[in-house]
């Protein structure tokens, strides 16, 4: 029977949606082993707001199958909640991860930095609606990006509707590692842009940004010679 062949079953899987795939996983062991990767390779986790909540697997399931994930989309204010081991991840997309990047970062436990010290008592109560992030938040964001830099197979980074906290060094090192970089409707601090320009994008094949990146275009234009071998280079003109 045709569907006894794992490759055929995997080819069938590309036409199935997640719930349908999950049904098929329950058929028998050989179907399960052939289809598990199809279910997990592209994973969206977290609960993005302003969107239909994306149903997420439990943390236990993620721990069990995180090694199958190739593309991970995090739609959540606190991506650190999903801090697990994703050794094969190639594409990381962050959506709606506004302002606070909290919790332990994505990546292996060994890569994750120790939890940051509690904010000193002199710091006014942090993380509440202030436009400038606290040192605590900066440490968290830094830890997050430090872990992302260590992901060995990362090739694409997409950041959408996200407020980036200043951690120029870690963020720009991540950018220097990827082949595709997409920055959409996100606030990228000027220091981070400068750091990206300094590090360059030696591997870049595709770079896209969407507007609302005030001043960003000029910086890139100036540094275009250091961006590297761009095969696709789309850049919106400054609108002002």
């Amino acid at each position: 029977m045709a569907l006894d062949i794992p490759e055929v079953l995997m080819a069938v899987a590309q036409f199935l949606r997640r719930g349908e795939l999950a049904q098929c996983l329950c058929v028998c062991k050989s179907w399960r082993s052939a289809l598990l990767f199809s279910l997990w390779k592209n994973m969206t986790i977290g609960v993005g707001y302003n969107r239909t909540p994306a149903p997420s697997p439990s943390i236990e399931s993620l721990q069990l199958h995180g090694h199958l994930i190739h593309t991970l989309m995090i739609e959540d204010r606190y991506p650190g909640r999903f801090a697990l081991n994703y050794p094969k991840i190639r594409t990381l997309r962050l959506y709606l991860t506004h302002t606070q990047i909290q919790g332990t970062p994505i990546g292996t436990a060994s890569v994750a930095p120790p939890p940051p010290p509690p904010p000193p008592p002199t710091t006014p109560s942090s993380s509440s609606s202030s436009s400038s992030p606290s040192t605590h938040e900066i440490d968290m964001a830094r830890g997050f990006w430090q872990a992302v830099v260590e992901l060995p197979h990362l090739k694409e980074l997409t950041v959408t509707d996200t407020d980036m906290i200043e951690c120029p060094e870690e963020f720009s090192r991540t950018c220097a590692k990827v082949e595709r970089l997409r920055l959409f409707r996100s606030h990228i601090p000027r220091t981070s842009i400068t750091a990206i320009v300094d590090h360059g994008l030696p591997l870049i094949r595709e770079l896209r940004t969407l507007p609302k990146l005030g001043g960003f275009g000029l910086v890139w234009t100036d540094a275009s010679s250091r961006i590297g071998c761009l095969k696709k280079f789309r850049f919106p003109l400054e609108e002002n």
Binding site: A2, E20, A22, C28, K29, P53, P55, S58
Partner: protein
């Protein structure tokens, strides 16, 4: 230029080389055995009925652009559009279609395999695991404990 193909039950078909070359396997064989064209190419896993149908498909699609099948990490591939002819082609019974999938897989006729898999997906997506097992005569080999674990694990896919 013509090539001859022989089905598993010994029937010989003569087709244009470019038609036969929609099969990756045959294309590769023709490269290797350029000089030796006296014997038909044996297709040990494909019966005459299925081979005739595969050839019918290849004849119709002989001028299609080849699909670039590179496993690009950006897997947002455009699905291949089914034209009316394809739709007509897939109006066969399930058994025939699954035999065709097997044939397309063993001959590596990629667009036909794609078409067949889409057909198969349309069938299984409407079925429960039990119905799938019945259709394909598969034994449920999970222990009750494993079954529980799977049920629990897939809760999140239901939303």
């Amino acid at each position: 230029m013509k090539v001859t193909l022989e089905s598993s039950d010994g029937q010989v078909f003569t087709v244009d080389k470019e038609v036969a070359e929609l099969s990756v396997i045959i294309k590769e064989m023709l490269v290797i055995e350029q000089a030796n064209q006296d014997h038909p190419i044996p297709l040990l896993n494909v019966g005459a009925v299925e081979l005739a149908k595969v050839i019918e498909y290849c004849e119709h699609h002989r001028n299609d652009p080849t699909i670039d099948d590179d496993e690009d990490y950006d897997s947002r591939k455009k699905p291949i559009e089914m034209d009316d002819w394809d739709k007509q082609f897939t109006i066969v019974n399930k058994e025939m279609m699954f035999e065709l999938i097997l044939a397309a897989n063993s001959m590596q006729v990629k667009p036909l395999l794609h078409l067949g898999c889409r057909y198969a997906a349309d069938i299984v997506k409407r079925m429960s695991p039990t119905e799938i097992r019945d259709l394909f005569q598969i034994d449920d080999d999970f222990t009750p404990e494993e079954q529980d674990k799977i049920e629990w694990e897939k809760q999140w896919t239901k939303l």
